[in-house]
């Protein structure tokens, strides 16, 4: 079992997923998960009962505005993401339990070094304009994302691909050479912003292989899509039409659901959850996710450069109280480690609890008996400001003064972004190595804690090129131990994703990715 992308594993996790789905939609028997090779994907995603065709699925999505886009590779807001999921497919995708499964790829296998990955494309897939999918389109997509003049969202993650070393073996086989060995190319290619577009793609006429075809788009307003009759996932999509409606305001989005103007909304504001639950015609879809909103301490700036101060601040947090007060209980406590769904997550490291005596003693040793720090907070994600307030109050119990500096998101992302000594951030579900690449290496684009531990770097670099799973597990465990002991993050929880829909809508299941509405799985939703 060398490849991280092992179809047997996928199949097993699919069964788990199917069980999860059964719980969510009422325990009705599911289609067999073993209905032949092409049945693997659809069986996992098929809802209970027999799906009905037809109807216009109206979806209210949080955010959006004049800067909205339908470009496959430039999604920023939630409506952008939703449109990308409707129009495009990536080579690989994720099951609701966050395991990887093939999408447009049939397989993607690393060489033993792992410097080259071999891609086998699914046969018989066509784009919305009827053009058959070949590896030329895949190469074009990589070139478009990595265009140095206009780098796209996934450019940093996919920069490991060596464009010069893309070798077409035949129409459906591509050898992808990397600049340096990596075992996580497959993980990067599951990203929704790495959707495959046809060679010569023009975002003004968006064409993909996704479950829905483009019909119209008005930025900040709504976009309309129609079913793709030749979609490669058999049976899907079920709805004839999909209408994605932008809602910059939370109140308006919930009101639209309550009054029956939309069928589905993402991200119910927790304050309005009771109103939604009280309505017999509505259902709440709650998913555990790996999304986190940490406090970030710069390990190279006083007083946080003293590891005892970082440890003390971590010990000040009453994590369960934070979850209860900030997330109204819709979350799970964290252990200052990220990537809880990674198969190599260090589950056995002891859970950190509030320990004021220990914290005070550490601060005394560090010469900060009456520590005063400034915490920069901003409404950049749901719950950040509330978390800062609760943290400040909890810190008071140990005699630590946390002064809150609340700034507008424009200031937060302004010139001091990634330079604040003590601030916050938000992250979605990711596996360990991809997350490290994003935020825990000196070369990462978002290293807000300025973390650059030499031993840690050595461990994760070696792990990134180690195909042997047992060896990699050990390396990653050691790396996580270092972060758990002395890292700059306070990771107090993983936030649940809470969406809602009319009881007429079927096919949604809890999804660990943190992407709302079963990863905006519009193809799988059907109207009863």
């Amino acid at each position: 079992m060398t490849a991280p992308l092992d179809w047997r594993v996928s199949r097993r996790s699919l069964l788990k997923t199917a069980a999860l789905g059964a719980v969510a939609v009422g325990g009705a028997p599911l289609l067999s998960a073993c209905g032949g090779s092409s049945g693997i994907e659809t069986s996992a995603t098929a809802p209970a009962g027999s799906p009905k065709r037809g109807g216009n699925l109206r979806v209210g999505i949080v955010g959006g505005g004049a800067k909205d886009t339908v470009d496959a590779h430039l999604p920023v807001s939630h409506p952008d993401e939703a449109r990308v999921f409707a129009l495009y497919d990536s080579l690989l995708t994720r099951n609701p339990d966050y395991s990887i499964r093939p999408a447009l790829a049939e397989s993607l296998t690393p060489s033993s070094d792992p410097r080259t990955w071999t891609l086998k494309l699914r046969q018989g897939v066509t784009f919305h304009n009827g053009k058959p999918l070949t590896v030329d389109d895949v190469s074009f997509t990589f070139q478009r994302i990595l265009d140095p003049k206009s780098p796209k969202s996934q450019a940093t993650a996919l920069s490991i691909i060596d464009l010069e070393a893309l070798k077409k073996v035949d129409d459906h086989t591509l050898a992808i050479g990397l600049k340096s060995p990596s075992v996580i190319l497959d993980d990067h290619l599951t990203n929704y912003a790495a959707g495959i577009v046809p060679a010569g793609y023009d975002p003004a006429k968006p064409v993909g292989t996704g479950p829905f075809k483009f019909q119209s788009f008005t930025p900040g307003q709504q976009s309309v899509f129609v079913r793709n009759d030749s979609y490669w996932q058999s049976g899907q999509p079920y709805a004839d039409q999909l209408t994605i409606i932008d809602f910059p305001d939370d109140t308006a989005r919930v009101n639209a659901l309550l009054s029956g103007q939309v069928d589905v909304i993402d991200q119910v504001p927790l304050g309005q959850l009771a109103v939604v639950k009280a309505n017999p015609g509505l259902r709440v879809l709650e998913s555990e996710t790996g999304a986190w909103i940490p406090f970030t301490m710069r390990v190279d700036a006083a007083p946080f450069s003293d590891v005892r101060v970082r440890q003390a601040l971590r010990l000040l947090v009453d994590r369960q109280q934070m979850v209860d007060q900030v997330l109204s209980g819709h979350g799970k406590i964290g252990n200052d480690l990220y990537a809880p769904f990674d198969p190599m997550f260090a589950r056995d490291l002891p859970q950190r609890h509030q320990d004021l005596d220990q914290a005070k003693s550490l601060l005394r040793q560090a010469g900060h008996s009456d520590l005063r720090v400034e915490l920069v907070t901003s409404e950049v994600a749901a719950g950040t400001v509330e978390a800062a307030q609760v943290f400040a109050r909890q810190a008071q119990d140990a005699g630590v003064t946390v002064k809150l500096k609340k700034v507008d998101s424009g200031v937060f992302y302004g010139d001091n972004y990634l330079k604040w000594d003590f601030a916050q951030d938000f992250w979605f579900t990711r596996n360990y190595l991809p997350q490290v690449a994003q935020g825990s290496l000196p070369t990462s684009p978002y290293n807000e804690t300025h973390w650059k531990d030499p031993t840690f770097i050595d461990l994760v670099t070696r792990a990134g090129s180690t195909v042997d799973e047992a060896k990699r597990r050990q390396l990653l465990h050691d790396a996580q131990k270092i972060e758990h002991d002395s890292g700059g993050y306070i990771i107090w929880s993983f936030t649940n994703q809470v969406d809602a829909h009319s009881s007429k809508v079927n096919g949604l299941v809890p999804d660990k990715s943190g992407i709302p509405l079963t990863s905006y799985g519009f193809g799988r939703m059907w109207l009863g």
Partner: protein
């Protein structure tokens, strides 16, 4: 009279220019720029640099303003930074939508306010008058956001389901093809504005009703209806015109909040978005339009007041 109006018009244009200048300075003072706002967390240095160049943000602020002003004078408000379309094209439909909303609200609240004020004045110190006074006072004290949410709960989500809670009109189709979406926003704005008009008109009306010429008209045996409509109302309206104008001008600004709440596709919603995006050309265009409505409505009020006041009217001749 013509000279006065011309002077007012020039003053209005000067106001608009000052508004645009102050706004430009203010938007420059906002932290971050359009490129950063558009990219958000995706703002890697490479992508920022590429976008800044694309949006001409690398030019100096003065050059950017002059460029904008040159275009604006010729009626060209430039291109939106957020989606690269000409501002005039982006605002066209939205402006019409907002004007429809404002005009409907202005008409309803003026008629309602004048009627309720007159009615209340005619029943001075009776129960109906006191009741009107209390109701208008309460409504005037409530923020329009609260009124709007209460109306949504009452008329579209929880108690009754009569009107749509939000506007989901198909883009490109004028809003007046779906009149039901206008009801709640117009009602909200009316409830926010009409109380002031009612109260002012009542006070003004009472004064007029006590005046000698009304008593004279009554003594002459004119029907009460004629006395009120022909003699009292025009004279009561004059002093209230300024208040009505101020309220209607307020509608132009209040529409921002209302449109946000009801997801109404007008300039208010666009303004909120444009500010968040640091989309200077859009912010400039929308605020100048709102300011222009302000100036125009006040100009109109001046004219009504002049025409309604015999002494002013004759002194101008």
């Amino acid at each position: 009279m013509l000279r006065l109006l011309l002077r007012r018009l020039l003053l209005g244009l000067l106001t608009l220019w000052l508004v645009s200048l102050v706004l430009f300075v203010l938007t420059q003072a906002l932290p971050g720029d359009a490129a950063r706002a558009i990219l958000g967390r995706e703002a890697t240095p490479e992508r920022l640099a590429a976008l800044r160049q694309q949006l001409h943000l690398d030019q100096s602020p003065a050059a950017q303003y002059l460029h904008w002003l040159r275009g604006a004078v010729r009626g060209d408000f430039g291109r939106s930074l957020a989606d690269q379309q000409p501002v005039s094209r982006l605002l066209g439909d939205r402006l019409v939508n907002s004007l429809v909303l404002m005009a409907a609200a202005a008409l309803v609240s003026t008629v309602l306010g004048v009627a309720a004020g007159t009615w209340s004045a005619l029943r001075r110190d009776r129960f109906a008058d006191h009741a009107t006074s209390v109701v208008t006072l309460v409504l005037a004290a409530l923020p329009e956001f609260v009124i709007g949410i209460a109306l949504v709960v009452l008329l579209s989500t929880t108690v009754f389901r009569v009107f749509p809670a939000v506007t989901l009109a198909t883009p490109g189709h004028p809003v007046w093809t779906r009149l039901d979406v206008l009801v709640l926003p117009v009602l909200t704005m009316t409830l926010a504005v009409a109380p002031y008009i009612t109260r002012m008109l009542r006070a003004s009306m009472i004064e007029v009703l006590d005046s000698e010429y009304v008593q004279m008209a009554r003594l002459k045996g004119m029907p009460e209806r004629t006395v009120i409509v022909r003699h009292a109302l025009p004279n009561a309206l004059g002093p209230v015109a300024q208040v009505i104008a101020l309220q209607l001008a307020w509608l132009a600004g209040g529409v921002v909040v209302i449109e946000y709440l009801f997801r109404y596709p007008g300039i208010g919603q666009a303004l909120v978005d444009a500010v968040a995006n640091r989309d200077v050309p859009m912010v400039q265009a929308i605020t100048v339009v709102i300011a222009a409505i302000y100036v125009a409505v006040n100009l109109l009020a001046d004219m009504v007041q002049i025409l309604g006041n015999a002494r002013l009217r004759t002194s101008l001749r």
